[in-house]
Symmetry: C2
Subunit: 819 residues, 2 copies
C-alpha cells in the first residue's frame, strides 16, 4: 500500500467516523427526547414547560454508552457481514435501544404509527414510559431484544444461551458494572469454559464501566487496573481496555477512531480464534472482552444544581427532575437537547439524514431486526419419536418398579438423535443423578476446560447436548437464551433448589405473557423443568433439601403461561413430557421422583389420563357403578399416589362395604376453575369426579394449601381435606417422611374414618389399629434404620397376584443412590 | 537462636505434627464410622454385614479435607489464642464436623448420651443420618455451626457477616470448588472491598479444590494455575497455594509440616495487616486466602470395583454402596477403617488418647464451642428510643402526606446512635432510594475499595453501619451471618427482587425452625425485611419490577417463624418496626411504600392497632352502633387502604344509608386460624370484626389468593371477595396500576353494589357512574400522562376540612423520585 492509498483509507474512515458520531448524536437526542418531551420533538419552537412530560420516568445514565456501542457495531456488522444480536444487561437504558431501532428503520416497520417524520418522533417520545405506551426498559416490545434487563444478572448467561448452536452468530453482550456485582453475573463469565468455538457462536462481553449505580460507585470501578485485568484473565478472557469521554481535550472523532480500531482488533481476533478452531485446535481460547470505561450519563449536563452529574451516580435516572417545574432546569434541558444539534440530524420533515441512515446494516443484519432476537421466527418443530417405543409394559396396574426419569432419559436419547442441533438439556451437575443418564449413550456433557482423561472424565467432550455447571442461575439463563433464540430444551434440578431461580422464572414468565400479546413476536418453545429429586426422597440430605413450594410460586403467574404436572409413573411421565416438548409459550413444571416406583398405567391409559389431566382409577377403588361413592381418595404426585393406593387397599380389606373412589391428578391446573385457568375443568365435570358433597381426602405432593386454593370455587370445596408437606423433615426413611407429615396410608385411613359421617364410633377399633401401625412403624424405623417391611414391601394386590404367576415385568433398577 | 535451640523447636513441631496426624486419623475414622457403622464401632470384633447400616447415607468426599483443616486450625488457635469459628461451605461433610466436635469434647458436653467411650461412639455412629438421629449435613444440631451448607453458595457471605463488628474474630471459611461455581459465591469474594481491617474481624477463605462435584470436574480445578491465581488476585486476595495427598512418595508428616508452615505464614500476614491498619494504614489490604488442593475422598479406597475412586467424583457420597451386600465391599470397608489404626487412637474404654485430645484448644477457643457460633449467647437487647419521639402528628385521620420509610429512617438513626456496634442495615444500593437516608446523618456506607472524593462519594467511609452491594444474595448472606452471631439488623430491597433470595430465606427459616427445638441454641434476633419499593409504585420500571409474591413464599414456612406486616402509614410502620426489632427467631416481612401517603393514625392509635393486628376504623365507616354493617370494606397494605377509604368516601356520599364498616389489617397472620398460626385471631373475634355473613370486599396488597388461603377456615369465608395484584402492569401512573388490577376505588364501589343483596338493580345508575369514572380516568391518563385530578388530589373529607382550617401538619416530602 502506498502512502497515498493509506491516506485514502484513513480519509474513508474519517468520513465513517463522522457518520458514526452523527448517528450517536441522533440516538442520544432521541433518547433524551423520549425521557423528557411530550411535544415539540425537534425543538422547532421555543421549548416550554408544556412540552415537557408531567412525569419524568426513565434512566439516562447508561444510555449514551449503549448507543455508542450500537453505532460502532453497526459499522463493523456492515463491513464484515456479521450476523449480530445485542444484549444490554443494563436494560433500563431502554430509550437508547428504542432510538437505535428507530434509526435502523425497524421501529417504524414494526409499529406503523411511529412514522419516520416529526409526527412519528413526537409519538415515539410521548409513548415512552407513558400510560398506554411502552415500558421504560428494553422490554419485549423493543425490536431486537431478547433480554429486558429489568432484573440484573443474566446478560451473559442469556448471551451464551443464544450463542449455543449458532456458529455464525456474534452476541455482543453489555454487562453493566452494577449488574457485574450480582451473583449470577459474577459466575456467568465462566460460560467460556463451556462454549465450543466451532459449533457455537461467539459472545463478546463488554463490561460497561461507567462507575456508578443508583447511589453508589461500583466495585469493579474502584479496584486497581491490575486487579480488574487479573479478574478478567482469571475469568478466562483477554481483556481490551477502552476509556473515552474523560479527557475533554480529546476530539470526539479521535475517541471514535480509537474505539473503531479496538473493535476491529477484537473482531479480528475472534475470527482468528474461530479459524484456528476450525482447523482443529481444541485448546480453549482466551476469548477477548472489552472493558468500556465511559462517564455515566456521557454527553449530559456536567452539573445540575451545582452538583456533578455526568460521571456520577446522579446521572442514573432523570437528571433534570424539575424540567417542567423550574426555569433553570428547563433551560438546562434545552441546552442539553440543543447540544446534539438536531438541526443537523433531521431533514425538514423530521426524517433522519440519509448519511446517518447509511450506517445501518442491511435488512436482517440490523441488530434490531435480526431474526435470532425473535426466536419464534426460526423455531423448528422438534422431531419426536413415538413414546410407545419407550413404554413400560404394565400387565396389571401397580406392577413392576421403575425409576420414571430413567425411562424419560431413554426417550430423550432419541429426541437428541433426531434433533442434533436445536435441543439441549441443562442442569446443575445432576443429569445422571436425576436418572437421565441414558442420554450419554448418544451425547456428552459439553466441556471446554481441561480434560484429565477417561478414567475420571466420563461422558464429557468439547461438544455435547448436555450442559452442566453447578449454578442453577447459569443453567436457567443459558436455557432461556437458547429458547428465546428459537430452540428447545429442558432443565432438571433438585426441587428445593429450583427456588434459586424463582425470580428468573418470574422474569421469563412475564416475558412470555407480554409476548403473547405482541403480534410480531412469534411463539417460542416452552421452558420445561424436570424436578425429580423431590421433597419426599431426600434420604441423604434432609430438611434443607425439602421444599415443594416452587409450584406455589409458579401458579402466581398468569394462567396463560404456566402449567404444572405431577405424573405418578413412568408412562405418564413420558406422555406428559411429549406434550411439554411440543408446547409453546409455556413454563411447564414437571415433578416426578427418581426412585423406583410402581407402574400404574399402560401407555394407552397414560395417554388418555394425560389427555384428561385427571381421572378416576376404577381398578383401585371399591365404588359401585351408578352410585355415589362414600369417600373420594385423591392423589397428585407419585409418593401421594402410592400412599393413597395403599390406603385404598387397607380400606378394601378392612371396610369392604365402603364405597371408595380413587382419583389421580396429573395436570394440577385441571383443579382450577375454567374461568381461572384454560386447563380448568368445567364445574360439572369436576362434580362428576369429586362429587358435590362427599368427603375428599386429597394426598398432595406439596404444601396442602395449594389444593384449597385451586379448588376454592368448586362446589364441594368445604369437603376437601388435604394432606401434604407441612415443613416437617430430616434425614430419615421414605415412610418416616410421609408419617412426619401425616400423608401416610395409615393416616389417610384415619382421615377417611374421621370424615365419613356414616362411620364414626363403631370404627374406633380400626382407627386405633391405624394409630398402632403408625407407632409400630416409627419404632421399627428408629431401631432398624429402615422402613418396616409391611410398608417397604407392600404391593398392590393385583400386582402381587401377577407377580406370583411370574408375569410382571419387574424393571426395578439396581441403583438406590440418591445424590 | 542456636542450632540446638532451632533443633529443639523442630522436634517440638514434629511431635505436634504427629499429634495433628493422629487427630486427623481419629476424625476420619469417626467420620467413616458415622457413615457406615451401626455397631462394632471400634472394630473390636470381626466386622460383619450386620455391623453395617442398612441404608448408607452421607457424603465422604469433602470430609477428610475439612478434618485436615480443622486439625491444623486447632494447633494454630491454641498457639495464638485466636478466637476462631469454622464455616464449611461443603456442609454435606457433616460427619467430619460432628467428629471434630466429638474430639473437642463439645459433643459429649452438649449431648450427654453421646459419651466418651465405646458405647458413646456406637451411638454417635448410629445416630448419623439415621431415623430419629441427626441430619447428614452441618446442621443446627452440630455444635459450632452457623452454616448448614445444604444449599451451596453462601459460605463467604455468612463468614463476612459473622466477622463484621467482631474485630478479634477469625472466620475460617471453606469454599467447596463446586460451591465456587454458584453465582452467590462467585460475587461474595468481593466482600473484601467492604470489611474494615480494624473494626471488623478477618475472614480467611480456603478454596477446597478437590476437583469434583457429584458427577463432574469443577471449573476452577480445570483452568490453568495462572488463571486461578489471576482470578484470586482479581478478587482482591493474595492466594497461597497448597497441594497435598497426590504425591504418594511424600510422608504425611511432611504434608502436615508444609501446611502448618503455610498456615502460620498466612496468620502472620493477617496479624501484620491488622497491625498496619491499627496504626492508621487505610489502604485496602490484599487479604490472604488459601487454595487447598487435596484429593476428593483423601485416605479413602483408591479404587472400588476397578474404578478410580479417591481423587474422583466417585468419592462424593458413599463410595462403598454395597458394604452390607457384598463380601468384597465389606472387606474394602474393613481395610479402609483399619487403615486409620483405631487401636492406636482409642484407649480400652473407647476414650480418645490423651495426646490426641491435647490438640484441642481450651474451652471457648474450641471452634465447636465458640460462642459466636451460638449467637444467642452473645445477643444484647437493642437499646431502642421511644417511637413517640418520631411520631407524625395526625390531628385527624387521613391528614398530611408522609413517606413512611423516611420517618422510619429517622427512628433508625437513633437506633444506630444507641447501638453503635451491633446493628447494621443491609441493602442492594437502595437505602436512600428506599427513603432511609436520614441514617446518613449519623453513619455512612462502609466501603473499603477506592474513594474518589466527596463530590461523588456521598455518605461513604471506611466504617459505617450501612452495607450496600448490588447483590441481594450478598446482602442477605451478610445479614444472616451477622444475626447468627448474635447481632441485629434489617435488609431493605425492592419487593419484586427479594425473590432473588427466596431460597436463602427458605434455608434461614428452616434453620430458625430447627433451632427453636434445640435447647442449647439460644434465640437470635429476627431477620427483618423492609420492602418499600413495592408492586404498586414501579412508575419508572414497570412490569418486570412488579411482584408481591414474596409474602406467599414466606407463609409456606412454619408459622412459628414467619410474620408479615403491611402497615398503612408512618406511625403504624414505626410501631411495627419497633416490634420487629425487639423480636427473636422470626423472619419479619414488612411491606410499606415509600411514596407520599396520608397519615391515618396517631401514635397511640397506631400502637393499639399494631397490638391488635387488625381493627375497625370507625371514623372511616358509616355503620350504626349496635347493628351489623351491610358490607365490610377491608384493606391490607398502604395502596389498598387508600383505595378503600376513597371507596368508603364515595359510598358515604352516594349511599348515605348503607352501613359500611372499614377494617384495616396490619398483621396479615391475624387472618389465619389460631390453630394455624400463633397470631391467628380467635374465630369469635374474627366474626365480630368481619361478620359471619355480610359481604367483605377485601383490597389486598398482593396476589388475591393469599387472603382466601388465610381465611379459608373462617365462618364467613364464602363472602370474602378479594381484589389484589393479578399480574397486570407496565410503566404507567399509580392510579392506572390499581385500575389495571381492579383494585381501584371505583371498582371497589362496583364490587359493593354487586355483592350487597339489598342493593342491586336500583343502583345500576351508580354502577354505571363508576364504570364511567374508570373510563374517564383511563382516557385522561392516556392523554395527559398523569392521573386525573379527581383521584390524584383526593383527600379524606375530615382531613380536607382540617386543612381548610390550617391545622394539618402537612409533611409532604419534596422528593418524588422513585428509583
Amino acid at each position: 500500500m502506498t502512502e497515498l492509498e493509506k491516506g485514502a483509507t484513513v480519509a474513508v474512515v474519517d468520513k465513517t467516523l463522522n457518520t458514526i458520531d452523527r448517528w450517536w448524536r441522533t440516538a442520544n437526542y432521541l433518547s433524551v427526547g423520549q425521557i423528557y418531551l411530550l411535544n415539540n420533538p425537534l425543538l422547532r419552537e421555543q421549548l416550554t414547560r408544556d412540552h415537557v412530560k408531567p412525569r419524568l420516568l426513565g434512566h439516562w445514565g447508561t444510555t449514551p454508552g449503549l448507543t455508542f456501542l450500537y453505532a460502532h457495531l453497526n459499522r463493523a456488522i456492515a463491513e464484515r457481514n456479521q450476523s449480530t444480536i445485542y444484549l444490554t444487561g443494563p436494560g433500563h437504558g431502554g430509550p437508547g435501544l428504542v432510538a437505535a431501532s428507530y434509526l435502523d428503520g425497524t421501529y417504524s416497520e414494526t409499529y406503523s404509527d411511529i412514522t419516520e417524520d416529526e409526527q412519528g418522533i413526537q409519538k415515539l417520545f410521548k409513548q415512552f414510559s407513558f400510560p398506554g405506551g411502552i415500558p421504560s426498559h428494553v422490554a419485549p416490545e423493543t425490536p431486537g431484544s431478547i433480554h429486558e434487563g429489568g432484573e440484573l444478572g443474566y446478560a451473559l448467561s442469556h448471551a451464551y444461551g443464544a450463542a449455543f448452536d449458532n456458529p455464525d452468530l456474534l452476541v455482543a453482550a453489555v454487562v453493566g458494572d452494577g449488574e457485574a456485582e450480582t451473583g449470577p453475573l459474577a459466575t456467568s463469565w465462566h460460560s467460556n469454559k463451556f462454549v465450543n468455538p466451532t459449533q457455537d457462536g461467539t459472545v463478546l462481553p463488554i463490561l460497561h464501566l461507567n462507575g456508578y449505580k443508583i447511589a453508589n460507585p461500583t466495585v469493579l470501578d474502584r479496584i486497581s487496573h491490575e486487579e480488574l485485568e487479573a479478574l478478567m484473565i482469571g475469568y478466562g478472557h483477554k481483556p481490551y481496555f477502552f476509556e473515552g469521554g474523560y479527557d475533554e481535550s480529546e476530539d470526539i472523532l479521535s475517541v471514535h477512531r480509537r474505539f473503531a480500531e479496538l473493535l476491529d482488533e477484537v473482531l479480528d481476533e475472534i475470527d482468528a480464534i474461530k479459524k484456528r478452531a476450525a482447523e482443529g485446535d481444541t485448546d480453549r481460547p482466551m476469548w477477548p472482552m472489552i472493558v468500556f470505561r465511559t462517564p455515566k450519563g456521557w454527553t449530559g449536563p456536567a452539573e445540575i444544581d451545582g452538583k456533578k452529574t455526568t460521571g456520577s451516580w446522579r446521572a442514573h435516572q432523570v437528571p433534570l427532575a424539575n424540567a417542567r417545574d423550574t426555569e433553570e432546569h428547563l433551560n438546562d434541558l434545552r441546552a442539553w437537547l440543543e447540544s446534539y444539534k438536531p438541526e443537523e440530524l433531521f431533514d425538514e420533515s423530521g426524517r433522519i439524514a440519509e448519511d446517518i441512515r447509511s450506517l445501518t446494516p442491511p435488512q436482517d443484519l440490523r441488530m434490531s431486526a435480526n431474526p435470532h432476537a425473535n426466536g419464534g421466527l426460526l423455531l423448528k418443530e422438534l422431531r419426536l419419536p413415538a413414546i410407545e417405543d419407550f413404554a413400560i409394559d404394565v400387565p396389571v396396574p401397580a406392577s413392576g418398579m421403575t425409576e420414571a426419569p430413567r425411562v424419560l432419559g431413554q426417550y430423550l436419547t432419541e429426541v437428541i438423535r433426531r434433533n442434533p442441533d436445536n435441543f439441549r438439556i441443562f442442569g446443575p451437575d445432576e443429569t445422571a443423578s436425576n436418572r437421565l443418564q441414558a442420554v450419554f449413550d448418544i451425547t456428552d456433557k459439553q466441556w471446554n476446560a481441561e480434560f484429565l482423561g477417561p478414567e475420571v472424565d466420563e461422558h464429557m467432550a468439547r461438544a455435547g447436548r448436555v450442559m452442566e455447571m453447578l449454578s442453577e442461575h447459569q443453567c436457567q439463563g443459558w436455557l432461556e437464551g437458547y429458547l428465546l433464540t428459537g430452540r428447545h430444551g429442558l432443565m432438571s434440578s433438585y426441587e428445593a433448589f429450583i427456588h434459586i431461580v424463582d425470580s428468573m422464572f418470574n422474569q421469563h414468565a412475564k416475558w412470555l405473557k407480554v409476548t403473547n400479546h405482541i403480534p410480531w413476536r412469534r411463539p417460542i418453545a416452552s421452558l420445561n423443568y424436570l424436578l425429580s429429586s423431590h421433597v419426599w426422597r431426600q434420604d441423604h440430605n434432609g430438611f434443607s433439601h425439602q421444599d415443594p413450594g416452587f409450584i406455589d410460586h409458579v401458579v402466581n403467574k398468569k394462567a396463560e403461561v404456566v402449567r404444572v404436572y405431577l405424573p405418578a409413573d413412568a408412562n405418564t411421565l413420558l406422555s406428559t413430557y411429549e406434550h411439554c416438548l411440543k408446547s409453546k409459550q409455556y413454563v411447564n413444571v414437571v415433578v416426578a421422583g427418581k426412585q423406583p416406583a410402581p407402574n400404574f398405567l399402560t401407555m394407552d391409559q397414560a395417554k388418555a389420563h394425560c389427555e384428561r389431566g385427571l381421572g378416576i382409577w376404577e381398578w383401585a377403588g371399591t365404588e359401585v357403578a351408578g352410585e355415589e361413592p362414600d369417600v373420594v381418595l385423591a392423589a397428585a404426585g407419585d409418593v401421594p399416589t402410592l400412599e393413597v393406593l395403599a390406603a385404598a387397599d387397607i380400606l378394601r380389606r378392612e371396610l369392604p362395604d365402603l364405597k371408595v373412589r380413587v382419583v389421580n391428578v396429573v395436570d394440577l391446573m385441571r383443579l382450577q376453575d375454567e374461568k381461572e385457568h384454560p386447563h380448568g375443568l368445567p364445574d360439572r365435570d369436576f362434580d362428576t369426579i369429586f362429587t358435590q358433597n362427599r368427603p375428599v381426602i386429597f394426598a398432595y405432593h406439596g404444601y396442602p394449601w395449594l389444593i384449597h386454593r385451586l379448588t376454592y370455587r368448586r362446589n364441594g370445596h368445604d369437603n376437601i381435606h388435604v394432606r401434604g408437606y407441612k415443613e416437617e423433615g430430616t434425614t430419615t426413611t421414605p415412610f418416616d417422611m410421609v408419617m412426619l407429615n401425616d400423608l401416610d396410608r395409615f393416616h389417610l385411613v384415619i382421615d377417611v374414618i374421621d370424615q365419613v359421617p356414616s362411620l364414626g364410633a363403631k370404627y374406633a377399633g380400626l382407627r386405633q389399629k391405624m394409630q398402632d401401625a403408625r407407632i409400630r412403624a416409627r419404632e421399627y424405623t428408629r431401631i432398624n434404620g429402615e422402613d418396616i417391611p409391611e410398608v417397604r414391601d407392600w404391593v398392590w394386590p393385583d400386582a402381587a397376584n401377577q407377580a406370583d404367576s411370574g408375569s410382571v415385568d419387574a424393571t426395578l433398577s439396581t441403583g438406590g443412590d440418591n445424590e
